[in-house]
């Protein structure tokens, strides 16, 4: 298992908080899975969106993997060739948080959003089911 002794940025790039103006505080936790080839300019361009249907056939992890595969032009069949999403976040926990029993039939005024980094991309999942995939500019 590769060690991750120092979570602090050693590359002199701007603090991760700078790329998440909407205050997603756990972005730093995900720093380790960012592609080392990505130069983080703090600017992101949306390249794909998809909708997750909580009543549908797909588990959230599958819906996210397919959305990311689509964004990359990867055949969904080859979604198992990509790095496991689990390295970036726990899709099961997210599914429970946004779409689990209890929340489903409740009117909620706010739309929650979680963003995470995955293999150089930025992925946002909203509690209304929309998935947005961004790449760095």
């Amino acid at each position: 298992m590769p060690a991750n002794p120092n979570k602090d940025d050693e590359n002199g790039s701007p603090p991760k908080d700078a790329v998440d103006p909407d205050g997603v505080t756990d972005s730093e936790t995900f720093e380790a899975v960012e592609s080392t080839e990505t130069v983080d300019t703090g600017e992101w361009e949306q390249i794909h969106q998809a909708h997750y249907d909580r009543e549908g056939e797909l588990e959230l992890a599958t819906a996210l993997a397919f959305a990311i595969a689509d964004a990359r032009g990867v055949d969904p069949v080859d979604a198992v060739e990509m790095p496991p999403l689990y390295e970036s976040f726990d899709a099961e926990a997210l599914e429970e948080t946004f779409f689990g029993p209890g929340g489903a039939d409740t009117d909620r005024d706010e739309v929650g959003e979680v963003t995470f980094r995955y293999d150089g991309l930025r992925v946002a999942l909203r509690s209304d089911g929309w998935i947005f995939v961004y790449r760095p500019l």
């Binding site: 936790t29 056939e57 992890a61 993997a65 979604a79 496991p84």
Partner: protein, 152 residues
């Protein structure tokens, strides 16, 4: 995500590491009950484990996905569509198997795509057998009858 998660699971730096066996839990043969329940919290993981625990040599990602899809669609494994299998396969690969690897319950070989029981599998199996006998019968029965259809 918190510090504890960081300690237990350091994200791999490249794809070749994706199937690395767990380090933390295999040193400790006693898997805490929390971890046992975490391993068993999702029906797809329970099904996977019912199937896998009889097969020390492991089972392929594809076969496991086929059997889970067969159970969920109430259809024989041979009639599972490629699409249905693929959807389960992607969920196993991206969410469930890494979690079980994390917990030291299975190992996953990224090259062969074979899932094998790991050090903590026995303990999970004990709990599964206890719960399965009373409460998880249909799932368990299906897993145990169908596993011979497509597994070695």
């Amino acid at each position: 995500m918190d510090e504890k998660e960081e300690d237990e699971y350091t994200p791999s730096q490249d794809r070749a590491d994706a199937g690395s066996p767990p380090v933390a839990d295999t040193d400790n043969p006693v898997l805490e009950l929390d971890a046992v329940f975490r391993a068993l919290a999702h029906p797809r993981r329970r099904y996977l484990l019912y199937t896998l625990l009889g097969h020390d040599s492991g089972a392929s990602l594809s076969d496991l996905a086929t059997n889970i899809a067969a159970w969920e669609h109430d259809t024989p494994p041979a009639e599972v569509s490629a699409e249905a299998r693929e959807r389960v396969e992607v969920a196993l690969y991206h969410a469930h198997i890494p979690k079980l690897v994390d917990l030291g319950v299975v190992t996953y070989d990224a090259d062969t795509r074979i899932v094998t029981p790991a050090a903590n599998a026995t303990q999970v199996g004990v709990v599964l057998d206890g719960a399965g006998a009373e409460l998880d019968q249909r799932l368990e029965a299906h897993a145990r009858t169908n596993d011979t259809d497509s597994l070695p």
